[in-house]
Symmetry: C3
Subunit: 349 residues, 3 copies
């Protein structure tokens, strides 16, 4: 399957890679091993020893090298073989290293041309850094569905009214006025409602549950699957002084054609003030993502199978504006990238 190559993929939360742990993770069908070098910097190598194709992630981290568990070859953090207990080091003994950086509490990996791997191209999730560690509700889930279906899911939050009716839904996203625009090289979709009935979990936080509320729900997408959501709600007319404001990252990283890593991180001022809310928020999010979204997405995937999404002629509704725009932009980026790659090869040929 074609993936965008020249892009930063969120591959793990930074704290999944610590000490001498070796984390195996497949991103866009590329098996990777993630670990930290002597300076604590994150390193990412192809998870395959070039000798007998053993997974390096089954090995051990020793000072200055990663030791293969099968025949003891050692590889430096840059992928070059630096130790061969059986003799000279063959020139070809090298595994591919991928540019990687820690940013926003996450490890980002670049699978494309290394010389284009500019960290300034990582989407801005700085709100995570600004939240106290105890005020972050973070997780990693895997779903057996195409990552674009999972982007669609977040880019059309009216689904919450039906799929998460008793927590995040209830109808307000459907009733809200919505607006889609291209911004910051991405796509923004925004739902706004005034003096309406808030979703159950928000309503319960109002000073007078049941009173009318104002509501803003905004998602900013960057290719290929990084989304930053802001939700602001409060008693009608009182957003400024009594509003509850939260930010959530939803990042969809392809593992394979119908297999996606979903990374989420939720923060809010309220959670900063009262970290004891974290457990309740985690429960709501897991109920929504794992209990309701994932099964639906996996059933959608089963219905679509190997078919191209557009070939099935989905009926488009007004609510699909954000998702469709994001899909078209990503599809264009992938075909442009493949076009220039083909052109580059043709010029070399």
């Amino acid at each position: 399957m074609p993936y965008l190559r020249n892009t930063w993929y969120l591959a793990a939360w930074s704290d999944e890679v610590r000490g001498d742990a070796l984390l195996a993770r497949t991103i866009a069908e590329q098996p990777l091993v993630l670990f930290r070098d002597a300076d604590g910097g994150v390193r990412v190598l192809h998870d395959r020893c070039p000798h007998r194709f053993a997974p390096l992630s089954a090995g051990q981290l020793e000072p200055g090298l990663l030791r293969c568990a099968y025949h003891g070859l050692g590889f430096g953090p840059d992928g070059a073989c630096v130790a061969n207990p059986h003799g000279q080091i063959p020139k070809a003994a090298r595994v591919r290293a991928f540019p990687a950086v820690d940013r926003h509490e996450a490890v980002w990996v670049w699978l494309g041309e290394p010389d284009q791997a500019d960290p300034s191209r990582i989407p801005d999730l700085g709100f995570i850094d600004r939240a106290a560690p105890g005020a972050r509700v973070k997780g990693h889930l895997e779903t057996h569905a195409h990552y674009q279906l999972m982007v669609d899911n977040i880019m059309d939050l009216t689904h919450a009214d039906y799929l998460h009716r008793d927590t995040l839904g209830g109808g307000i996203n459907t009733r809200a006025s919505s607006q889609v625009e291209e911004a910051d090289g991405g796509v923004v979709i925004r739902w706004e409602a005034k003096a309406d009935t808030l979703p159950p979990v928000m309503n319960a936080q109002l000073p007078h549950p049941g009173e009318a509320g104002d509501f803003l729900n905004e998602v900013h997408w960057s290719a290929p699957g990084v989304m930053r959501q802001r939700v602001l709600f409060g008693p009608a007319g009182r957003l400024d002084d009594l509003g509850f404001d939260s930010l959530t990252a939803h990042v969809m990283t392809p593992a394979g054609p119908a297999h996606t890593h979903y990374f989420f991180c939720h923060t809010s001022d309220g959670l900063t003030r009262d970290p004891s809310m974290a457990e309740g928020i985690r429960a709501v999010l897991l109920q929504a993502f794992k209990g309701e979204d994932s099964p639906m997405l996996e059933r959608q995937q089963a219905a679509i199978g190997d078919a191209d999404f557009w070939s099935l002629k989905p009926v488009l509704l007004s609510i699909d504006g954000g998702a469709a725009l994001a899909r078209r932009r990503l599809d264009r980026m992938i075909s442009q990238e493949r076009g220039s790659a083909a052109q580059g090869e043709a010029q070399l040929g």
Copy 2:
């Protein structure tokens, strides 16, 4: 895989579809959702929302419509979208509806040309209607084998002598004289024996267990996989006054290439008089179908794999007459149907 399209498939027992239940079932690779409309009539739609391909069977039945669980589109019993909470109803928002009727306590679905869906073409299983509800031992099993292998299994009951030796077998089907004929647009196979040793479960019902018995075992097949079996046995020469008479439907409905729904329903006068026999009969049938037939059929299927059955050159025995005749008739019906479909397309082209 090619299936007969212009035929009635038994898709469910009628009581599997009741109240506001939504039953998901795949027939001949077509995912279906079965439910009842306001009048209690059975309705069958493609189990896939045309918007985002969510399974409609994950949704909810509301008055007059089936509501998709994902974004709330509502579809009437005829498959037309009748509710879009997000705006106007797009013309293309429609799911395919399939003709369906309740007959003989079962739901029959027509996957082919709707204008040919004549309920009078449903095979006659009226004996089910005539039995009291308590005098029916009914079930639905799924087996991972091709439905024609499962038809073969019933069309050659000599297998009972070997595979169900201690219950339905013992040798009498092998020793019996058998006869195959085409009848009522189908195939009939009949085994008859006089003053012979009856199968264990029948012998136990004789006035004097161990005495010689007379035996008639007859199966009537209709395409594609509907079989009606009559078993009549009793003390030798006393079938008329001391015979036990039973009828059993064995219906094999393809789910996919190597996946079959098996519906069975057993009735008898004895069971009508004494419904407490039902549990014992159910145990014998499940032991035979689930404990003995299914594992054998799945191992046959594993041996055959994707190969065409005839390409493996099965050795034909005298006992294969009924099964081979049914296979040939069905194969001919399928190729005729595909031939006329191709011809129809050519005339249009």
Copy 3:
């Protein structure tokens, strides 16, 4: 996948086929049923009834015949149908019989041209016969990896230093001098070390654990996957009078493309003298084979997938000499066999 056809495959330990047991086993993608005839001779047939493709291994052994469980056909030990309870025996009712012999406590099967099935071509594992039955630690494991990967694993025992570090490793195989040679139509690889630190399980058997030891480790490979290993160790300079000598057969028989039967049998003089050691030896071997080798081999296989091993350009190290030579010899044998088969067909054509 191409397999060597004209060769003896170890299909089972002889005591797996006893009495009226029917053993189903797939060798080189060929489903087989193994059993014993009236004289106790081992017989091997295609595990598929020619009538309806039921597995004969689901049947029953009766005097002089194997009875199919489905419709009662009976096959003699040579595969000819000798009993048809339903009428005359059709000429075509025959299953393929494969030459098979008991030798070295194992059943060997020949899948190729029957007239070439000369038992003298079975590799010599006579040491098994010479060991007392109580002095054999024998087993059968299945691993989901290509059999050539599993041959590689034994042909390069330096892996023990890393993968079995706490039992059979520790570094001595890596430090030892090694030598590869072609011998007896096969390949021999030998590791020798003097006055070195022995592997943990050997060190523990020294008169003075921790003292320096001498070490010889030798593997003789015959195509396609029969290996005979000798390990000799003892206090330095005292191999002759205080050495521990053992022989182990490691036989890799392909089941399918990524599925291998692994048969092992370990014997030693020490075990002959003290059969109570058997349990401890079995535990060490199972820890190594099942706990450490198998998972590694299955992960290698997953990394290789369907690719040709050489197409992935494995980096060759000095330790690969034995494995690479064995692979090349086997690949050549297979292509020669296929070449002459193609030529034979061309001459007939």
